[in-house]
């Protein structure tokens, strides 16, 4: 275990592992790979002692069954998982998923403001958003909500001062250096730049989400007709 990882108590049956330097709070591909690798090892080594795992940017919450094990044993399992060297990440792990987006001021009510504030044209914003390959760093907030990073700093934008009461399903959004697709209609404070016709969470589908933590995502522009043909709503 290296000095930049530590294990803290979270609750009566949960430990949380922090990766990297917790004080600097950096988001990095290497740290995310370590989180993913540790999660996979613990799933194997703890088996039915495990109730659930919550991987995030630079941490892993480990929830165990306190009637089958205790925090000493789980701590030891975590230490063993951290002690095994992790294969250097070639940044190609995880599936590559391409999500179609209808970018426009009609489907993205914050596109104009975001472009103005960034000193860019709308076409520049749309093009920059498609240039990067994003990593799924975490899933949470709501079922199927995947946090994608990192966004090109040229199109990063703070959350809205007043969150919207209603963000439509499929809204493609930006907050700071993150981007995401809203899986369902919900309140939200991210900047909306387009709409994706693909369902990000479908309880009746197997799997219920097109992406998982560690996957990579690219966005690809589609026009209005294609968006509607794919089942998108306006």
């Amino acid at each position: 275990m290296n000095a930049l990882q530590n294990i803290s108590i979270a609750g009566e049956n949960s430990l949380i592992v922090y990766f990297g330097d917790a004080r600097t709070q950096i988001i990095s591909e290497d740290i995310a790979s370590e989180v993913a690798a540790t999660a996979a090892k613990l799933r194997d080594s703890l088996g039915t002692l495990l109730i659930d795992l919550v991987p995030s940017y630079a941490s892993l919450l480990v929830i165990y069954d306190p009637f089958k094990t205790d925090h000493h044993a789980v701590r030891a399992a975590i230490r063993r998982a951290l002690a095994t060297p992790i294969e250097p990440d070639n940044s190609q792990s995880g599936a590559l998923v391409t999500l179609p987006v209808y970018y426009s001021t009609e489907s993205g009510p914050d596109l104009q403001t975001l472009a103005d504030n960034a000193g860019l044209s709308i076409d520049d914003v749309i093009s920059i958003h498609q240039q990067s390959e994003y990593r799924v760093y975490a899933i949470g907030f709501a079922p199927g909500f995947a946090y994608l990073g990192e966004l090109d700093p040229r199109i990063a934008a703070p959350r809205l001062a007043t969150p919207r009461q209603k963000v439509p399903r499929g809204a493609v959004a930006i907050a700071d250096r993150q981007t995401a697709v809203y899986p369902a209609e919900s309140p939200g404070g991210w900047n909306l730049i387009g709409l994706c016709p693909e369902l990000m969470f479908d309880p009746s589908a197997e799997p219920s989400m097109p992406v998982q933590v560690g996957d990579r995502v690219r966005f690809k522009a589609i026009d209005r007709d294609t968006y509607l043909d794919m089942g998108g709503l306006l």
């Binding site: 803290s8 108590i9 979270a10 609750g11 009566e12 049956n13 949960s14 949380i16 709070q25 988001i27 109730i51 659930d52 795992l53 919550v54 991987p55 995030s56 940017y57 630079a58 941490s59 892993l60 919450l61 929830i63 306190p66 009637f67 205790d70 925090h71 975490a138 899933i139 949470g140 907030f141 709501a142 079922p143 199927g144 909500f145 946090y147 369902a184 969470f201 309880p203 219920s208 989400m209 998982q212 933590v213």
Partner: protein, 323 residues
């Protein structure tokens, strides 16, 4: 289990807020699903045990009251938790006790005089098609429950359950029935997460002060009001949140996160409330008074194991039919 869907209960009135809950939805945090399940696990599992040897069968969580059902089945039911007046065919009935009901019986719940969550269980459990391995209703996620879409029970709903002709009348010993009348609770806390981001003065203030439950409290979390405690950091990288986590936003007013909490979040946390005390918190009404007490992780494990042993070892009293 008898999967006959012709037997069950018809909802005449759903009451203020009544939800189907089983033990909860586990192993699905990876796709962002919360755990759900009964807020007061103590009352929930006693209701189930009164109806047979079952601990996590689907039951109804009744918030405050007002639920009226018509039985279309011969079976055993039990209601535990908050003091909600119960009657069967206008005859007053005891809580924390099993009752036989037959086809055509009308089961009415009034409104809580103390506590706020009641549990109605039935022999064999309600027959609910699970979604992600659970019947638990999570309205915020539009998942689970009778229609699998997170909606609360509504008038006209029919909740199937098997017929059960066996079953003796049992009651929970008084020593296991909480008294909710004080509308106050002492919650045990395991320190953790960003506890180092709270100064000793702030921790002392938290553990020596009284907090009150605010109106903005629901199955997601209970927002408290009291002396502000300020962490030395405003926000953190979003990370996993466990049941009972005490989150402190910038205004310094703690929020205890409950069964329907978001799975990840970016506010600093002081630690987590012991699960055995979550039910005590959830039974409080707005204005309810709270104090906190720090315990070690070792004590927490001991409390959990002792509680489990006490539940398993306790013997239900048989009810004298001629009382």
């Amino acid at each position: 289990m008898n999967m006959n869907t012709n037997t069950g209960f018809k909802i005449i009135q759903p009451g203020i807020f009544s939800l189907i809950e089983d033990a909860g939805r586990f192993g699905q945090h990876g796709i962002g699903l919360t755990s759900g399940g009964p807020l007061d696990r103590h009352a929930f599992r006693w209701a189930n045990r009164l109806c047979g040897d079952q601990q996590s069968a689907a039951a109804i969580e009744i918030t405050v009251g007002g639920l009226v059902l018509e039985s279309k089945v011969n079976t055993t039911i039990a209601v535990t938790g908050a003091n909600i007046p119960l009657s069967i065919n206008k005859q007053s009935r005891e809580l924390w006790q099993s009752h036989q009901v037959k086809v055509g019986d009308r089961i009415e719940l009034g409104f809580a005089t103390s506590g706020s969550r009641g549990y109605l269980a039935v022999a064999g459990g309600f027959t609910i098609e699970p979604i992600f391995n659970s019947a638990a209703t999570v309205p915020r996620e539009a998942l689970g429950g009778l229609h699998r879409d997170g909606t609360a029970l509504q008038a006209g709903d029919f909740i199937p359950c098997p017929e059960s002709l066996s079953g003796s009348k049992l009651r929970v010993p008084h020593s296991h029935r909480p008294d909710y009348s004080a509308n106050s609770a002492l919650l045990r806390v395991v320190l953790g997460y960003q506890q180092q981001a709270f100064s000793n003065i702030n921790k002392q203030r938290f553990f020596s002060s009284e907090y009150r439950v605010t109106e903005s409290s629901d199955r997601m979390g209970f927002r408290l009001k009291g002396p502000a405690i300020k962490p030395t950091v405003d926000g953190i990288l979003s990370e996993g949140i466990c049941l009972g986590a005490i989150q402190v936003p910038a205004d310094g007013q703690p929020i205890v996160l409950l069964n329907d909490r978001q799975t990840i979040g970016g506010y600093p946390k002081l630690g987590s409330v012991l699960s055995l005390d979550i039910g005590k918190l959830a039974q409080l009404l707005p204005g309810g008074r709270l104090r906190f007490e720090a315990i070690s992780i070792e004590q927490a494990h001991n409390f959990l194991l002792l509680d489990q042993q006490r539940f398993t070892d306790s013997v239900l009293d048989a009810v004298d039919e001629h009382e």
